[in-house]
Symmetry: C2
Subunit: 419 residues, 2 copies
Amino acid sequence: MNYFKVDRKNLEEEKRKLEKIYSEFKIKKFSLNMSRGKPSNEQLDLSKEILKNVDDDFVSSGFDVRNYGCLEGLPEARELMSHLMGCSAEDTIVGGGSSLSLMHDVIANFFIKGVNGCPPWSSQKVKFLCPSPGYDRHFQLCEFFGIEMIPIGMNEEGPDIEKIKSLISYDDSIKGIWCVPKYSNPEGIVYSDRVVRELANLKPRAKDFKILWDNAYSVHDLYEDIQIANIFDECVKSGNENLPIAFCSTSKITFASAGIAAIGCLGENFKSMRNYFSRKIVSFDKVNQLRHVKFLKNIENIKLHMKNHAKILRPKFEMILNKFKNEFSENKILKWTNPKGGYFISVYTYGSAKKVEKLCKEAGLVITPAGSSYPYGNDPDDSNIRIAPSYPSLEEIGKAVDLFCLCVKLSAIDKILGS
Amino acid sequence: MNYFKVDRKNLEEEKRKLEKIYSEFKIKKFSLNMSRGKPSNEQLDLSKEILKNVDDDFVSSGFDVRNYGCLEGLPEARELMSHLMGCSAEDTIVGGGSSLSLMHDVIANFFIKGVNGCPPWSSQKVKFLCPSPGYDRHFQLCEFFGIEMIPIGMNEEGPDIEKIKSLISYDDSIKGIWCVPKYSNPEGIVYSDRVVRELANLKPRAKDFKILWDNAYSVHDLYEDIQIANIFDECVKSGNENLPIAFCSTSKITFASAGIAAIGCLGENFKSMRNYFSRKIVSFDKVNQLRHVKFLKNIENIKLHMKNHAKILRPKFEMILNKFKNEFSENKILKWTNPKGGYFISVYTYGSAKKVEKLCKEAGLVITPAGSSYPYGNDPDDSNIRIAPSYPSLEEIGKAVDLFCLCVKLSAIDKILGS
C-alpha cells in the first residue's frame, strides 16, 4: 500500500489494523536496546585468545610491559596501529583504549595551549564543521568545549566540499572538521578520492584549522575490502601536513573499551600532542598493547580477522535491509542507506523520527534517540534515525525491525491524516 | 672527618683523595638510572598471576567486561579502590591506569567548565598551593595549565597549615592545594591527624577551591601499617564535602602503567567529574579492572600483598640510610629523611644539589634532576635531591650510593673551599 495514494478511509482502516498489531507487541513485553553500536558476544568471542596470550613473555622491544616507560607506545603497537590510519609508526601514538578520549585530548590540548603559534582555543571563538548526520559523540565533545557547530550536508561522495571551501576561506574562527571517512556514522558513506584530495588541499583562513579524521571503520568492511585515499599522503603533497589528525581503535576489532586506540599526526601536531601526553601520563597500558600485537600480528591478519566479524554482521544488516525493501519499496514513507560496512544503517522517516522513537520505546524497543546524529540534537526535518544492527541476535533483530516498521507506518499515517 | 672543623690544608688533601676515587668510578663506566620511582622486576613478579586470571570468566556483576558499558567502573573495582582513598564505592570512579591522568582530568574539567557555580578556570587567574619539596609531576601539570604555583613549607606533620590558612582566607585566585598525605613525595612525611583535620576545616575564599589528595602510597608501608585520618569523613563533618578529590592507583601495587587508577569525590564534584567522563569516553578498560579485582580481592589482601613489596624494598632503603649514617653522621654536609614507607628518600646537600647531579651523571649515575621537587624546578637553596631506591638491585644501589656520597663530599668541599 502506498499511503500517499490511498484515500482517507482506507488509511484509517490501515491505521486500525496496525494499532491492533502494535498493541499485541506491547502485551508481549518485548525488551531490547538497539541504541548503540555494540559488538555482539559472538564477535567478542573471536578475540578470546587475547585474554591469555601474555603470560610469562612480557618483554617487547626491550621494554618490560609491566613497568613505566615508552610514552608513545610499544614500537610494534605503533607499527600495527599506523596501518589503520595510513601514517607511519613514527607518527603514531598508541594511547589507552578509547579513540574518543584521544579526540578529547586533541581538543583539550589546543584549548589549553593552542597550536601552530595561535592563541589557545579557550581564548578564541571556535567553530567546527560538522558533516551531518554524523557521530553524536563528536557533537557532544564540541558541546562540552563550547565549540559552535556548523552542520554540513553529506552526499554520496562525503561532505559538501564546496560549502566547506567557501566557509573556511573567510571565517578564521572555524578550527576544525569532523570526518568519518570510511563508512561514516551513521550513513555508511565512503569518502571519494576526490573529496579526500579536496580536503587535503583546503586553504583555511585559520592557521590552526584541523581535519579530525576518525577512521573508526577503516577495516570494517561487510563485503569487499574498500580502500580510501590516504589523507596523510595527500596533505603532504599539498603542503598541508598540519591539517590531519587521525584516530583509530580496536574497540570493534577486539574488545569494546578494552582494546587499544591510537592517534596519528605529523610535524608540529605530533610534537604538540607528545608534549601534552608527557604532562598527563607516565605511560599507557603496554600489557594490553602487547596482547594486541601478539593477537592481531599485522594488517593482513587484521583483515582476515575482520572477515570473521563480517560473517556475523552481514546477515544482520541484510535482514534489516530486506525487511525495509519488502515493507517500503512501494510505500515510500521510509528511505534508508545501503552501507557496505561500518556499524549503522541510517533511515529517513516521513518527518516523524521522534514519534517513531516514542512508539518503539513504549513497546519495549530502545533505538538511538531521534536527532542525535545532528549538532545539538537538532534534525531540522525530524526524519533521521540511526539503526545499530550489531548487538542483538538475528531473531531479536527480526522482531525489532517488525516493530520498527510498524511504528514508522503508524507515525506516517498520523502525519498524513494530520491527527 | 667534619669538613667544617678541619683546616684548609687537610680539606685540600681530602679533596685530592676523593678525586682519585672519583676518577676510578669514571673509568669503571658505571651506568645506572635512579631518577624515577619505578618498581623492580622482583616487585612486578609478585603480581604475575594477574596476567592469566581472566580467561573464560569475563562476566562480572552482569557486565561482560569485553564490551562497552559501566562508565564509573565495575562495581567490585569501585569497591576495592574506594578503600585506598577512604571514600565509599559510590563516590569512586575507576578510570584507566594512571592517577596522574585523572588529576589532569580534574584540572581540565574545571579549566573548561568550572565547578561550584564559578566560571571556568580558563577565564580566571588560578593559583595552587604547592607543599615543597613535592611531586614534580604535580608541578608540571600546573605549568601545563598555566597555574601559578605558591610553594608551601613542609614540616614533620605535613604542610605549613598556618601559612595555608592565611593565604586562602583572602586570595580567591587560590583554587587548590596538592597533598600527598601519606609518605609524601619525596619527603616520606605522614600528615598528622591534626593537619588532616585543619585541611578539612579550611575556609577558602574561593568557592571552587579543591584539596587534591594524591593518596599514592596509602598502603605502601615499609614497616608497620600506618593509618592517617580520613579526609572525606573530616570534610563531611566540617560541611566541606566539596573540598577533597582523592586519587589512587595500583601502579606500585601491581604493574606500573598497567594497573588501575581511581578518583574519589563527593556530591557536586562527583557529578561534575561523571559528566566530564561521560563526554570523554564510552567506558574504561573493564578487563583490567576484573583482573585486578580477582587478584587483589579486598583491602586486607592488598595489605598482605604489600608486605611482600616491603620485604623487597626495605633492604634497599636501609642500605642507603645506613651508608648515609656511616658517611655523614659526623660530617654534617648531608641531611636526609628516614621514611617509613613510600618510594623516596629526600636528601639535603650542602647547597650543591646541581653540582652533585652533574658529578653523578659524569660518572654514569642518573639521579632525579636537582630542583625538580620544587615549583618551576626552583630549589631556593639548591640543596634537595630525591633518591629513588626501588628499581636497582641491592648490589647496584651499593655502588650507586658510594658514588653519590663521594659526589656529595666533593661538591661540599668545593663549596667550603670557595673554588
